[in-house]
Amino acid sequence: MPERHTVSRRQFLKLSALAAGAAALGRGVLSRFAQTMEGTASQVRALLPAFVADAKTLGRLIGQDGRELQPVPPSPRSAPQRRKWVMVIDLARCDGCGRCTEACTAMHMVPFGQEWIKVYRMKDNAAAGAYWFPRPCMQCDNPPCVAVCPVDATFKREDGIVLIDQDRCIGCRYCMAACPYSARSFNWAEPPHSLAELARSYSMELNIPHRKGVVEKCIFCPGLVREGQLPACAAGCPMGAIYVGDELEDTVTNSWGETTRFSELVHQGGGYRYLEELGTEPRVYYLPHRDHQYPMPETAGQIEQQRG
């Protein structure tokens, strides 16, 4: 009998603890719901007076207290809607001059030693000729770097760009190990800064100012493409080898001002994506170096010459 008594008391205690927990949880949910309702109501009230416009407030949003309402700044992680940036690199036009790297470095104030777009000297087999191969970040649609990031510091935007939140990155460098294109760099020490760089407030779309202990890479110049301009590398290419555009618009443009249909260019030019077999779905397409009109690398010594 006494044992039975203790069991029922334990059960009672368990039940009351459960009840208390459920009550606390329910209250939390309810209060949150109430807050949402309140928020919606005040927004509605705030929006109404804007329609009663006089000359001073025309076209502006004025709150109930008479102050102008500022548009909510877009989240740094949000992207322009209905855009899918895409890049096409015509290897037959690339002469390995490295201007793309220079333009990129100047534009992003890339720390010394890093090349966000790097020009490789490639040779697929003994019989085939060598060629130049500019490698930006491929902005993969199935990005291995984003998959492995433990803190959501590197992420994929709706417009196709893979960005890095330098406020979030913990510097584990897993993304560098995961990237098959070796497209990522790390700030091993405090990068040297210019005054112009330090004057800017941090922006994820520029990656400026650079910081110690975080990962960096090519980001497709999101600020420029948002304004309808070419990224620095494409604009800086004297050969017009780099086309950038919107896949949804089906248009790409290069620095010569040539604007073509993206689908036609890739379809007829025999376009391919680097390491397609890995399934990373890169957003950078290459046109093979067939019938090239510019000097191709022939000897190892030539790279040293070209790079100075």
Binding site: K118, R135, V148, C149, V151, I170, A178, S182, W188, L278
Partner: protein, 519 residues
């Protein structure tokens, strides 16, 4: 079962090792403490200069720290092996060595978990892992699994310690020092009552079953940090079991080394006998053979096909820059220990003594001279990606291999006379192999990306660890041994009450079954 307040004579030796420490002990602790502090000093340098203080750069972006991480986590698996797997399979001989194994688990997990933090570029943001975790990332899996295992194995270390702590508390009740207070708290009011024993047994059985899947998950997800990437050399389906087996063999081998050290320095000859060494050696041998099998499976399936992306890496390992380390691991760290465990058992080795050609000393001299010549040749020779199998297969290297083999054979009669020495030698080689093997899994792979490395800066295209990295590595190793040593001074390193149960007593079905298994 009543708790006797007085200890049996052989238990006094354990107690003496707890309470009395000679000068050598203090020197040992001071040395380890010094190394550990030096490691911390090196870390402060790294905090100031950033990871630029290390030899890592954009290509080899993981180095010694991640090597140490995988090594420590690997060693830690022995706790689950010894106390859970052997417990469930009813191997009673394990009892004097389980606590040694569990303490290794605790100590190595602690330092293993520290290593990725040392490796972070922004250790000040480590809390981001708690606030913004992405469950898709293997690092988060690791974080979860390692902390679960750390907590689980600490409980599993603590549970069987309660009766011993109570024994110590009762023995020290006259002294009333800080030790008495510590043991009083940790004993949780243990009086050795039958229902207390029943609860403890039940708790230990539950933990034994729980800890095995946790331990397997830990090293599986450690391997998946590598296995989930597309890199040649890491992009492999067998990485999970391959790493778990490597972890078990290195952990079991480390217990053999610890057994020998405690037996020697704490005078535990009565507890740890040749029988324990033999059983452990058999266990290590079995695990070692399975691990050799995994190695063959891993490299042969890749090497047979010679896929373009994997080829460069395989050449570096088998005949290139890392060939020496690779073959040292495979032959010196896996094959040789297996021979050291098996061959001394063969009765025929006595006859080797009678062959005059096999005198150890001249052979050792010849072997070391030709080995030195070989190392010189390998390091001077061309180290391009293309491998020169001609030089590897040259008569010199075969001569060296033959000399080394003769050398091993010549020492066999001596090792037969000193079996424990043979076991400890083999186990020590396996532990060294374990570290080197992890280095070989990480660094050469990072040097073989899909896109060829085209960088004029030589320090970016090779990996030479700096003094900061070596100091932190040494400091972590010293800290691991120090924590282990201090543990053995606070708590009996051999479970007193569990070994006492082995004393002859009226037959109880449960225990008689265990004795059968032992016999």
């Amino acid at each position: 079962m009543e708790t006797p307040s007085r200890f049996q004579p052989q238990e006094r030796t354990i107690l003496r090792s707890l309470l009395h420490s000679g000068l050598p002990f203090y020197l040992w602790v001071a040395g380890l403490g010094g190394l550990f502090l030096w490691g911390i000093r090196a870390y402060t340098v790294q905090l100031q200069e950033g990871l630029a203080a290390t030899g890592m750069r954009d290509y080899v972006s993981w180095g010694l720290y991640i090597t140490n991480f995988v090594f420590f986590i690997g060693i830690s698996h022995v706790g689950a092996l010894m106390s859970a797997i052997l417990r469930i399979s009813g191997a009673a001989w394990r009892k004097p060595v389980t606590r040694m194994a569990e303490a290794i688990t605790f100590s190595s997990l602690f330092f293993g978990a520290l290593m990725p933090i040392v490796d972070l570029g922004r250790p000040d943001r480590i809390w981001h892992l708690l606030v913004y975790p992405r469950i898709q990332s293997p690092i988060v899996w690791d974080f979860v699994c390692i902390f679960t295992y750390l907590i689980g194995s600490t409980i599993f270390l603590y549970l069987p310690m309660i009766p011993d702590v109570a024994l110590l508390r009762d023995d020290l009740s006259q002294a009333k020092g800080w030790r008495y207070r510590l043991y009083s708290i940790l004993a949780l009011g243990w009086r050795g009552m039958p229902d207390q024993h029943r609860s403890l047994e039940r708790a230990m059985s539950v933990m034994a079953v729980l800890i095995i899947p946790i331990a397997v998950s830990v090293h599986t997800v450690v391997s998946w940090i590598f296995g989930m990437t597309l890199r040649p050399g890491w992009n492999s389906t067998i990485f999970g079991p391959y790493f778990v087996m490597g972890a078990l063999v290195s952990g079991a081998a480390s217990v053999v080394v610890a057994m020998a050290a405690f037996r020697r320095f704490y005078h535990l000859e009565e507890y740890i006998t040749l029988k324990h060494f033999r059983n452990m050696a058999l266990l290590v041998l079995a695990l070692d053979l399975i691990y050799i099998y995994f190695n063959i499976a891993e490299y042969l399936t890749v090497g047979y096909k010679m896929e373009e992306a994997e080829r460069g890496l395989l050449y570096t390992l088998l005949g290139g820059e890392y060939a020496l380390a690779f073959w040292l691991v495979q032959i010196g760290g896996l094959l040789l220990p297996a021979l050291l465990f098996i061959l001394p058992e063969v009765g025929a080795v006595e006859r080797i003594r009678r062959v005059p050609l096999l005198r150890p000393w001249p052979l050792a001299a010849a072997a070391s001279i030709s080995l030195a010549a070989m190392v010189l040749l390998v390091t001077q020779g061309p180290t391009q990606t293309g491998v020169d199998f001609g030089s590897l297969g040259s008569s010199l290297s075969w001569a060296v291999a033959l000399l080394l083999a003769l050398l091993v054979i010549s020492t066999l009669p001596a090792l037969r006379a000193h079996r424990i020495l043979a076991y400890v030698l083999g186990a020590g080689l396996i532990v060294i192999q374990a570290w080197l093997k992890r280095y070989l899994i990480i660094v050469p792979t990072l040097l073989s990306p899909y896109l060829p490395i085209q960088d004029p800066r030589i320090e970016w295209t090779t990996y030479i660890p700096t003094w900061v990295e070596w100091s932190i590595t040494l400091g972590a190793m010293a800290g691991f041994v120090l924590l282990y040593t201090l543990f053995s001074k606070l708590f009996p390193i051999v479970s007193i009450w569990e070994t006492r149960e082995e004393e002859p007593r009226p037959a109880v079905t449960h225990y008689s079954r265990e004795r059968e298994a032992e016999a």
